[in-house]
Chain length 189, copies 2
Amino acid sequence: MHMFRTASLLFRLWKASKIANTVNPLTDKRRTHKGNMENKNHEHYMNIALGLARRAAAEGEVPVGAVIVHDGEVVATGYNRREQGADATAHAEIIAIRSACAALGRWRLEECDLYVTLEPCPMCAGAIVNARLEKVIFGAHDPKSGAMGSVVDLNALPLNHKPQVTAGVLGEESAELLREFFAKLRKKI
Amino acid sequence: MHMFRTASLLFRLWKASKIANTVNPLTDKRRTHKGNMENKNHEHYMNIALGLARRAAAEGEVPVGAVIVHDGEVVATGYNRREQGADATAHAEIIAIRSACAALGRWRLEECDLYVTLEPCPMCAGAIVNARLEKVIFGAHDPKSGAMGSVVDLNALPLNHKPQVTAGVLGEESAELLREFFAKLRKKI
């Protein structure tokens, strides 16, 4: 059973990596001019974010991963590096936002979408507003510090930008990754 | 009766402010071992933050400056660099927090106080919570995006850390600096 699960996980990872390298000619904006990013499967990008979250876990960090997509292309990625970076701001989303700003050479990330495995905290939700990200797609809800509906909903405040939010994409996978991580941590302690 | 209640309320407020500003020399670790930061004048550090805000203005950035103090010493500074850095997260507070984490080699900034000329936005207030900063002293209120009482009060939410907040220190100077900056900007446009 254990072997089967490992094999299944490896297969899914392999599949995700294949998908990640594939461009769909029908939906790729560059090929069809203004294309239709809406038709891209949210799960495709969330799987990349999940891969990053797994990398965080492997490095002893709380597993959260983020991806920023512009015109159907992944322009930036990030995963939680708070412990290794000894940096309170080094959440997956902040790293991805800074990286996207650097990649695009501008602080306004309009027409960019952020995929993140866990509901953003107030810092990250605030950064999303500041960066004017168009859409946010997140996986698991965070009842302890989620700022897109759980503890607070920044979109309900009169701030100068409101991203479109989609919750629960591969939410169970994201939550399971976090549960596994904390279960292992408790065993160590 | 009404007068008595008002007088009683005023007395309680005065008493509370006295208690809040009093340091017990027997229990204050910093006074007996590492000097007494409590007795240092908030205005001293806010003036440094104002100097940084002026530098931001001189470089064409919205003038906001921040200083982080640990054991009475300035361990990190920051000023808004959003335009020059082309980075949506490059607010004065985020730069100062990242710099303090780097200086102290840890993401937890307990026993550190942050001085900032303008009320933190949700991103920066969230970063302050994440970094476990002990106290936040800010100058001017920000009615458009302040997250320490103006648009939202993060301290009123059930988050896992609540910094002590002091508002209005050299608030008029900070607000004037911002007004001047935007007046010049409007003339240019």
